[in-house]
Each structure stands twice: as structure tokens, then as C-alpha cells.
């Protein structure tokens, strides 16, 4: 209760929208709870001053430090009078909350899968044990249910990427659900990078059938080609775009719903006093718990869908015989093939 009275005192009225946006966005420094913020390094590059590194604690409360000031989450150069200097472009490579969470997830992934790898070396020729036996079904699921059926015989080349992708999204979805966790997979920059990598892998794997299908879609009348070719080309970019938006929107939406539910407590308190706030808390807690359960499911589901769709796109790019051939007489009709 002390927490939100502090907030009310600071910002006047409690604004649930601001609270939600604050939680789903990135920040300099990691706010685990109100008033408990872990300072993180701020790394800036400007053309005139080069690389600068300092602690985020210096700029946490809108102070000016070293000629920099944080305004609405972004760090700006300020003039001597304290005004924001728009003429200086500040490249912000800070270890923000999301980057810290990203590093943490990377460390977890490395530790976990190195121990799994060691398990395979230690238990060679024996049944899997411990974390190895816990993760083996998931690895086999990615291999047998996602990679193999969608990519086909060449799946082995893409398996390391798909496994990394799956576990990266999964671990970050789960870390995001922890109290105080960062909304990393609900950040457009992260999903953009994942989608672009999937896009590059798909298109660099594309064989002649894939490109031929884009330039001349099979079974389409010539008159429709001026329409179909742009559609196909847009489709190439639409696929990764949908990947990017899907993951970002699903995870962010989940966070917004849980935060909105919890925000109901504070709205009730603002409307009817502390007693009303306490009265709605149990009901809201039940809903929030239910939503957390759903989010846990979504964490797995979105990791699965992103990986599945990526392998389907790769599969369509490396497919040897196009579906439109119906597999009839392709080999026999063309002896040079």
C-alpha cells in the first residue's frame, strides 16, 4: 500500500495506462519493485564525444549528468541551460533492462544446454538423467514435430537455428512472466531481429523451384500474372513481418491484460478508498492467476508457432518438387532431371 501512495504522491492521480506502458517498455536501470532499481550501464555514442559509459543511477530521476538527460525513456544531449539539444544524435547502446534480461537469458541458455550436452557425454549409452531427460522430449519435439515434417530431408542443416530460436523465445517468454521481469519477446526490436534472421535463412536457402514460383506462380493464367507476381513478392516480406508482429503482439497483449487486471485494484481504491481496493483484490487475484496460467501456455505456444512457421517457410524454400506438379511423372517425364 505504501507503494502506490508513493506513486500517487509522485504523479498525482494513478494512471493505469502509464503504469502499463511503463512496465511493458524498456528502461535504463532494472526496476524490480517500486523504489528498488538496479542501476545498469548506459553506453552512448555521439559523433563529437565518442563512446561514453556511465551508470544509469545518475540519470534515474530526470537529472542532467554529463550533459545527458533522460526524457520519456530516451537519452538526449542537453544544452548548458538544460534544454534538449536535438542537433546531437545520441546512439544509445545502453545495457537496458531488456538487454540485461537478454544477457541473463543467454547465460541461462548456455548453462542449461551445456549441462544437457554434458549429460549426453556422461550418460552415453544409458538413459537420460536430470535436466537432460527434462529437455530431451522438447528437443525431440522440435526435431520430430517441427523440423522434420515441415522442412523434409534437409532438416538437419536448420535444426540448430530452430532449436536456438525455440528455446530463446521460450526462456524469454517465461522470464517475462516473472515479477519484475523484462518484456523482451514483447519488444519489437527483438522480434524484428528474429524475423529478419528467419527471412534471411529462408531466402538464402531458396532453390530454383522457390524463386520460379515467385516469378511465375504455377497454375495461374498469364493475364493474372501482373497481379500475382507483386502478391508473391509482398508475400515474401509479409511472412517475416507476420512473425515479428505475432510474437510482439501476443506477449505484449498478455502483459497488458495482467497489468490491467492488477490495475483494477488501484482504480477501485481511487474510486472507493482503501477498503474497496482490498475488497476487489481477491477476485482480481483469481483472474490474474488464471491469466498467468494462460500466459504460461502462450509462452510455449508462441515459441512453438514462431519455430513452426519459420520451418514451414524454410520448407517451402527448399522443397524439391513443387506441389503443383502433384508429384506425377516428374521424374519419368524428364530423364535429364
Amino acid at each position: 500500500m505504501a507503494q502506490e501512495t508513493h506513486e500517487s504522491a509522485e504523479h498525482g492521480e494513478f494512471n493505469v495506462g502509464d503504469m502499463i506502458m511503463h512496465h511493458i517498455k524498456d528502461e535504463h536501470g532494472w526496476e524490480l519493485a517500486h523504489g528498488l532499481t538496479i542501476p545498469l550501464p548506459v553506453i552512448l555514442y555521439t559523433q563529437d564525444r565518442g563512446l561514453e559509459v556511465f551508470s544509469s543511477s545518475h540519470i534515474m530521476h530526470d537529472e542532467v549528468y554529463n550533459g545527458y538527460k533522460e526524457h520519456e525513456g530516451d537519452i538526449h544531449r542537453v544544452t548548458a541551460t538544460g534544454e534538449i539539444d536535438e542537433s546531437v544524435k545520441v546512439w544509445d547502446f545502453s545495457i537496458t533492462k531488456n538487454v540485461a534480461s537478454l544477457l541473463l537469458s543467454a547465460i541461462i541458455l548456455l548453462v542449461v544446454f551445456f549441462s544437457v550436452r554434458n549429460g549426453y557425454e556422461k550418460n552415453k549409452g544409458r538413459a537420460p538423467k536430470g535436466i537432460q531427460s527434462f529437455l530431451e522430449p522438447i528437443i525431440l519435439f522440435v526435431r520430430d514435430e517441427i523440423a522434420k515434417p515441415n522442412i523434409g530431408p534437409k532438416y538437419e542443416r536448420y535444426l540448430p537455428y530452430l532449436l536456438t530460436l525455440f528455446f530463446f523465445i521460450l526462456i524469454n517468454n517465461l522470464l517475462g512472466l516473472l515479477p519484475g521481469g523484462a518484456n523482451l519477446t514483447g519488444n519489437i526490436a527483438v522480434t524484428l531481429v528474429l524475423a529478419v534472421i528467419s527471412f534471411l535463412i529462408t531466402n538464402f536457402s531458396g532453390n530454383k523451384h522457390y524463386w520460379a514460383h515467385i516469378i511465375k506462380p504455377t497454375g495461374v493464367p498469364v493475364a493474372l500474372l501482373p497481379i500475382m507476381i507483386p502478391v508473391e513478392i509482398v508475400g515474401v516480406f509479409m511472412k517475416p513481418f507476420s512473425l515479428m508482429v505475432r510474437l510482439f503482439a501476443n506477449i505484449t497483449a498478455g502483459h497488458i491484460i495482467i497489468l490491467s487486471l492488477l490495475g483494477l485494484i488501484f482504480i477501485a481504491r481511487n474510486l472507493g478508498g482503501t477498503g474497496t481496493g482490498l475488497a476487489v483484490s481477491p477476485l482480481v487475484t483469481v483472474f490474474a492467476l488464471f491469466m498467468n496460467g494462460i500466459e504460461l501456455l502462450v509462452a510455449f505456444l508462441q515459441a512453438f508457432i514462431f519455430t513452426l512457421l519459420t520451418s514451414m517457410y524454410i520448407g517451402s524454400a527448399v522443397e524439391e518438387h513443387h506441389e503443383a506438379d502433384h508429384g506425377i511423372g516428374y521424374e519419368g517425364a524428364d530423364p535429364h532431371h
Binding site: K25, I43, D92, F113, I139, R143, E156, P160, T164, T252
Partner: protein, 164 residues
């Protein structure tokens, strides 16, 4: 730090860290793990294949045994039947031979009895003749002591001889 505009910093770190863990995991985790999984699956598969093969071999062996057994049974039956036939034939032959022998011995006996009887008859005849001659001699000797009777005899003889 807007919701829909990617930050350059996070973009940069995401590329660096994601590619970093991808490359590290690929080299040191995914390759050994997938290789181990494949190896284990191959082992299991080959063990299963071996079991299947052994089972097929056992079945073939059993079938062979059955076949051999059936063959042996047939052979045994053939031998038994042959033996029985031989035995029956031997018994029949023996019976025939015994019957023939009996018949022959009977014939012999009959023949010898016939001979005996003939010899006996001849003997008897001879005895009778001798006896008759003896009697006749004795009678004659006595008759001839009397003159009248001698004459009578001669007369009779002459008469009979005429008759003859």
C-alpha cells in the same frame, strides 16, 4: 523508447547476443546433442532390427525342425508299414509253406500206406498160397493113401481139365 519503434541499442544487442548464443550452442550443444540422440536412436533401431532378425531366424529354425520332424514321422510310418508288410508276408509264406509241406507229407504218408498195404496184400496172398499148398499137400498126402480116392481124384482132375 516507443512501443512500435525498435531501439537501435536493443536491436544491436539482440543481433550480437542471439547470433552469439546461436553459434556457441550450435557448435557446443546442438551438434553433440543431436548426434547423441541420433546415435542412440540408431542403436535402439539396430537392436530392434537384430531382435526381429533373430526372431525370424528362430521361426525359420523352428519351421525347419517341424519339417524335419514331419519328414521323420513320415519315414517312420513308411518303415513301420514296410516292416508290417514284410512280417505279414513272412507269416503268410510260412503258412503256405507249412500247408504245402503238410500236404506233401500227407501225400507221402498216403503213398507209403498204399505201398504197405499192397506189400501186405501180396504177403497175405503169398501166405495164403503157401498155406493152401501146404494144406493141399497134406490133404493130397492123406487122400493118396486110399486107392479109390486116388482114382476119383484123377477122374475129377481129368474132368475139370476138360472143363477148362
Amino acid at each position: 523508447m516507443d512501443l512500435l519503434t525498435p531501439d537501435i541499442g536493443l536491436l544491436f544487442w539482440q543481433v550480437v547476443i542471439f547470433l552469439g548464443i546461436f553459434l556457441i550452442l550450435r557448435a557446443f550443444a546442438w551438434k553433440p546433442i543431436t548426434a547423441s540422440l541420433k546415435e542412440r536412436e540408431d542403436n535402439i533401431q539396430s537392436a530392434l532390427d537384430l531382435a526381429e532378425k533373430t526372431r525370424a531366424e528362430m521361426a525359420a529354425l523352428k519351421a525347419d525342425n517341424e519339417k524335419l520332424l514331419a519328414q521323420a514321422r513320415v519315414e517312420r510310418d513308411v518303415i513301420l508299414r514296410g516292416a508290417k508288410e514284410t512280417a505279414d508276408k513272412m507269416v503268410a509264406d510260412a503258412r503256405d509253406k507249412a500247408a504245402a509241406e503238410g500236404q506233401r507229407m500227407l501225400e507221402l504218408a498216403r503213398e507209403s500206406m498204399q505201398n504197405e498195404r499192397q506189400a501186405l496184400v501180396a504177403q497175405v496172398k503169398k501166405e495164403v498160397v503157401t498155406l493152401s499148398l501146404d494144406i493141399a499137400e497134406k490133404v493130397l498126402r492123406r487122400e493118396l493113401n486110399d486107392k479109390a480116392s486116388q482114382e476119383q481124384l484123377i477122374k475129377d482132375l481129368v474132368t475139370n481139365s476138360h472143363l477148362n
